[in-house]
Each structure stands twice: as structure tokens, then as C-alpha cells.
């Protein structure tokens, strides 16, 4: 719904993402705050958390949003695709001594191609069956990485050079997140994005309308996994070390859960879901679990390791049952009631 007094008089205003002067002001102010405030106010611990947990997750979930939220192809192996990106940059920078900047697109492309390989069955299968084939991808990729230990370092993993200082890494991560969010948001409105949504809503109808299913599904896999590869690149170059244990099936499930919490099918929702769930996890680990461990000393050691994902599981279950449209829908409800404020409709 448009704010009161705003009318679409030109085609340009109809398709604009940012419509009013207030929105422009808020957007620019938000970007300025994003780039200026955290480096000044946050401690290095929080800054590095923003880079290596928050940004990586947001980028990966954006990829999953394109693949699952827009195109409807459920992927249970997204963490494995992040892993492919991380290992691609790790192997190339450590063995061939390439600059990290050269491997940034390469990590994305390699992960994208691996995604296309495992997405190929999507031509014939969908729903549960496709979820199973991506689940297979998760286990097969991890096994491959462990097996070819000569190149990948096996269980020990690879050490990668980290880029710049903590603050520089923050700028890099924030820049990547903003650019990739912008791309995802815009892609949704193009021919490609609309084709993907048509496939999600009814793939047979989409085919009848002249959408080449195979091609568009593979494009969705490529772009979704390209995002995952970029996330892996950021992970590798901000953490400095990658091992197969960093990308278990559990992470893939986290990504799906974040998508649900945010609201399936919306870019804003993907960012909201990833951000809020990562923050919740961090707060649980830092504040709730020490408190719980002190309250129940008998099982204190286990509480520290599981409180994060028990809380996560409960939140996702509550969202699925009570608000399956996610945080994004709540945000829309709030926006429209705010715009209508003195009146109820």
C-alpha cells in the first residue's frame, strides 16, 4: 500500500523501489549509519562476529532465498555449497597464490557450477525428492573434501590468509551484503525473477506459459549457489581457517529455518530472518546459556553446547505454527497500520 498522498503518475514511479523523499532519506541515513557507526562503537569481538557470522549467514540465506524462496527448489545442502566456495578460494589462494580478489568471483562460479550439477535432477523431481537429492549433495561433498585430503587438507582443513584488519573486513562484509541484497531485490523484479516465481507457484503452468523449466531451474541453482560461494569466500578470508566440520547438515537446516522465520519469498524477509536468528543465537550463547548453566550445574557443560540450537528449534517451530509468513509479514502489517495511522483502514 502506498503512503497517503502518493500517486503513481509515471511508469518510473510505479516500478521504483524507493518511492518517497522520506524513504530516500531513511535509506541513505541507514547506509551511512551502517558504514560509520559500528566501526566506531562496537568492540572488535562484535565486529568480527558481524563479519564472520552475520554477513556470511545473510549472504548464504539470500542465495537460499533465490533458490528456495523464489524458485521453490528446496535445498538441504546449502552449507555444502558454502563449503565449496570456501574450499575453492582456500585451495586456489594457498596452492596457486592467487590474490583473494581474483578468487571472489571464482569461488562463486565454482560453487554455482557444483550447485548446477546437484540441481540437475530437479528437471525430473521436486518436493521431497529434490530435498533428498540435495541432502545427498551435503553428505557427498563433505565426503569428497575429506577423501581428497592431499588437496583439501582433510579433517585439518586449510589455512587461508585473512584480508586486512578487523575494521577493513567489516567494510568489505558490509559492502558485499549491501550489494548482494540490492542485486537479489532487483533480480526479483526482472523477467528472470518473475519466471522463477511462476515456477515456484505452479511449474506446469509456468511451462505452459513458455518458461523453459530446465533452464530457469538451473539458473536458480546457479545464482543461489553463487551466493553461497561468495559467503564461503567471505568465511574463508575472515576466519582464516576452514575445516569440513564447519559446514555440517545442521548449518543447512539453520539456513532453511532462518528463511522461515524471515518469511519465505521476500528479500527483506531473508535478511531479517538471517539477522535476527544469528543475533538470537549470539545472545543465547553469551547471556542465556551461562545463566542456565549456573542454574542447573549438573548439566551445565551440555547446556552451553545445545542451548543455541534448542532455542533456534523452538523459535522456528513457533513461527511455522503461529506465523508461517514470517517476520516480513509482521513488518508489512506494521507498515500499513502506521501509514493509515489515525484510521483503521
Amino acid at each position: 500500500m502506498l503512503p497517503s498522498g502518493i500517486f503513481n503518475t509515471k511508469y518510473q514511479t510505479d516500478i521504483a523501489i524507493v518511492r518517497t523523499k522520506t524513504q530516500w532519506f531513511l535509506l541513505i541515513a541507514g547506509l551511512v549509519i551502517l558504514f560509520v557507526v559500528p566501526p566506531l562503537l562496537f568492540t572488535p569481538v562484535w565486529l568480527s562476529w558481524i563479519v564472520r557470522s552475520l554477513s556470511v549467514t545473510i549472504i548464504a540465506v539470500l542465495g537460499l532465498h533465490i533458490l528456495t524462496g523464489l524458485c521453490g527448489q528446496i535445498s538441504l545442502g546449502h552449507a555444502a555449497f558454502v563449503m565449496v566456495g570456501a574450499y575453492a578460494t582456500g585451495i586456489i589462494t594457498s596452492q596457486l597464490n592467487w590474490s583473494p580478489w581474483a578468487t571472489l568471483p571464482l569461488a562463486g562460479v565454482v560453487a554455482g557450477l557444483v550447485g548446477v550439477i546437484f540441481g540437475a535432477p530437479s528437471l525430473r523431481i521436486k518436493g521431497f525428492y529434490l530435498a533428498m537429492s540435495t541432502l545427498a549433495a551435503q553428505f557427498i561433498i563433505i565426503w569428497l573434501v575429506k577423501y581428497f585430503s592431499g588437496v583439501t587438507g582433510g579433517v585439518i582443513g586449510i589455512n587461508v590468509t585473512r584480508i586486512g584488519s578487523g575494521v577493513e573486513r567489516y567494510y568489505l562484509a558490509a559492502g558485499l551484503v549491501v550489494a548482494l541484497t540490492f542485486f537479489a531485490k532487483n533480480m526479483q523484479r526482472t523477467n528472470l525473477g518473475r519466471s522463477l516465481i511462476a515456477i515456484r507457484d505452479n511449474d506446469l503452468a509456468a511451462q505452459v506459459m513458455g518458461i523453459n523449466l530446465f533452464r530457469y531451474k538451473l539458473i536458480a541453482f546457479f545464482i543461489g549457489c553463487f551466493y553461497a560461494g561468495i559467503a564461503g569466500w567471505l568465511w574463508a578470508h575472515s576466519l582464516g581457517n576452514i575445516t569440513p566440520e564447519d559446514f555440517p547438515l545442521m548449518r543447512s537446516i539453520w539456513y532453511l529455518g532462518m528463511l522461515v522465520v524471515g518469511g519465505v519469498g521476500s528479500t527483506t524477509g531473508a535478511v531479517l530472518g538471517a539477522g535476527s536468528m544469528e543475533l538470537l543465537d549470539k545472545l543465547t550463547l553469551d547471556y542465556l546459556s551461562p545463566w542456565l548453566a549456573a542454574a542447573f550445574p549438573a548439566i551445565g557443560a551440555q547446556i552451553a553446547s545445545v542451548s543455541g540450537y534448542i532455542v533456534f528449534a523452538l523459535v522456528v517451530i513457533l513461527f511455522l505454527i503461529l506465523e508461517p509468513r514470517g517476520l516480513y509479514h509482521r513488518w508489512e502489517v506494521f507498515k500499513s497500520s502506521y501509514r493509515l495511522h489515525p484510521y483503521s483502514y
Binding site: R124, I125, Y129, M132, A136, I140, K146, L256, F312, I317
Partner: protein
């Protein structure tokens, strides 16, 4: 030759337990269209609960088995009523995420309660019978017999009993069954309860063959799911055939492939599953789905 025979026999025995496991999944999927991805975690939790009764508290074996069955059935009813019924009408994506996340929850409970340590059950005595050169542990032999018996019982229930008829009817069409006076909700609840009781049996059997440990959750995910995809999601004979194939493939790859390709047996079921998905997406005996707009 002896290695080959032993692998063959043990593969069949393991496969029968997998078939039983898969049966629990197929029953649930047939009636409610829910593919329970948290099955492995439920298996692990039920195994640990049995350990609590039998090993830690020292209750008599028969009594603790009955207690575990009751708890399994109750867990099924609770899940059906409070987690899955609100999701009726939601897209498949919601069910997939819900089952996965429930898996998280059960995993967390297992870690909180039992630290995820492997626990031996010790219900079936160690040792075994020798058949010529082949040695078979009692646990595997007994598991084989129990699994086949239970499989037969469930199939009979499905084919002969009135409730089985109702379940087959619900598998066919929800609306139709409703109008024939069959309560679809009740059938869902019964399927959940039966499915989890089967899981409890399988947990005790698998726990006796090895130990009760987080490996059980991996079995549910990495063995039972390929089994039902191989056999076809809706097919009971498919569960038996798929279980035997996966059991044999696992033991043969442990014996012959693992020395060459370390750890390959772990992903063997997935590779078989990918192949079958590419060649025959609906499995050996599954329903070929014809879609209309």
C-alpha cells in the same frame, strides 16, 4: 568366499532392520503425506529412553519395552496434534523444515540428558552361532527374525484389519475417506503412533546390534530415507526390497570398498539414491505421479 558369504548374510540381516525402519516412514507417508526427516533423531531418543529404563533404572526388560512403546505412541500423538495438524494445508516446504527442526530439538534433548554418549543395551546376550565358516551374532539373528515378524504383522494389519482398510483408504484420498465416515484426523494420529512404535522397536534392535548413540540419528537420515526412495515412498514391498538393497550395499561397501576408498560406505546409500532419482524418480514400486494443472 567366506567373507563374501558372511557379508551377504549379514547384509540381509541388517537390511531387514532397515526395511522395518523404512516401514515406519512409509506408513506415515502413505496416510498423511509427511516424510518424517526427524525419524533418525526420534529413533535415537527412543533408544536412549529405553536405556534409561532398562540400564540405568534396572527395570525388567519386558516392562521397559512396554513403557518405551507407550512413550513412543504418546510422542506420536503429541507431535501429530500440536506440531503437524496446524500445518495441514501448508506447502511441503513447511513440513520439511518442521521435521528437520524437530530433529534439532530431539538431538538437543539427547545431549542434555545423555551427553550423546554411546550406551550399550545388553538386552540380547553377546556371542553367536556358527554356520560353517560364518559367524552370526545373536543380536543380528534375533533382530532379523523380529524385524521380519513385525513387518509381517504390520502388513497383515494393513491388508486384513478394519483399521488397515481405513488407512489404505486415507492413503488413496482424504476427502473421499472423510465422506465415507473415516476420520482422517484419527488415522493420522494412529499412523503417527504406529510409526513411532516401529521406530522404538528398530531403536532397540539397532541399539543391541551396536550401541545406542547419535549414530542412530544418522541411520535414520542416511539409511532409512534412501531405502524408501529406492523402494518408492508409498510402497510397503518397496520398503522391504529397498531395505535389503541398502543393507547389502552397505555391508559390501564396508568389506570391499572401504579399504580402497575410506569411509565410502557412509555415502553409498546416497549415491544409490541419486542414481534411482535420476533414472526412476518414483522408485522401484512407487506410484508414478501424473500431474494436471
Amino acid at each position: 568366499m567366506e567373507t563374501f558369504l558372511e557379508t551377504l548374510v549379514r547384509g540381509v540381516m541388517l537390511g531387514s532392520v532397515y526395511a522395518l525402519l523404512a516401514l515406519g516412514l512409509v506408513l506415515l507417508f502413505k496416510s498423511s503425506r509427511i516424510l518424517n526427516l526427524a525419524y533418525g533423531y526420534m529413533l535415537m531418543l527412543l533408544g536412549y529412553i529405553f536405556c534409561l529404563f532398562f540400564v540405568t533404572w534396572g527395570l525388567p526388560a519386558a516392562f521397559s519395552i512396554i513403557l518405551v512403546f507407550i512413550i513412543a505412541a504418546l510422542l506420536g500423538l503429541v507431535l501429530d496434534r500440536f506440531a503437524f495438524r496446524p500445518l495441514i494445508g501448508q506447502p511441503i516446504f513447511a513440513i520439511i523444515v518442521l521435521t528437520l527442526v524437530l530433529g534439532f530439538l530431539f538431538d538437543g534433548i539427547a545431549i542434555l540428558g545423555w551427553k550423546s554418549l554411546p550406551l550399550p543395551i545388553g538386552l540380547i546376550p553377546a556371542g553367536g552361532v556358527s554356520l560353517g565358516a560364518i559367524r552370526l551374532p545373536y543380536a543380528e539373528l534375533l533382530s532379523f527374525i523380529i524385524a521380519l515378524l513385525l513387518f509381517a504383522v504390520v502388513v497383515l494389519l494393513f491388508q486384513r484389519a478394519k483399521i488397515g482398510l481405513a488407512m489404505r483408504c486415507v492413503a488413496e484420498d482424504h476427502q473421499l475417506s472423510q465422506s465415507m465416515g473415516i476420520s482422517v484426523k484419527r488415522i493420522f494420529a494412529i499412523s503417527w503412533a504406529i510409526s513411532l512404535v516401529i521406530a522404538a522397536v528398530a531403536a532397540i534392535l539397532l541399539g543391541s546390534m551396536q550401541t545406542v548413540s547419535p549414530m542412530l540419528s544418522f541411520v535414520g537420515l542416511a539409511k532409512a530415507l534412501p531405502v524408501i526412495l529406492l523402494g518408492g515412498l508409498e510402497s510397503i514391498p518397496g520398503a522391504l526390497v529397498g531395505g535389503l538393497i541398502i543393507g547389502l550395499a552397505e555391508l559390501f561397501s564396508i568389506t570391499y570398498l572401504d579399504p580402497v576408498l575410506g569411509g565410502f560406505s557412509g555415502i553409498m546409500p546416497f549415491i544409490l539414491m541419486l542414481l534411482i532419482l535420476l533414472i526412476r524418480p518414483y522408485g522401484f514400486f512407487g506410484l508414478r505421479i501424473i500431474e494436471r494443472i
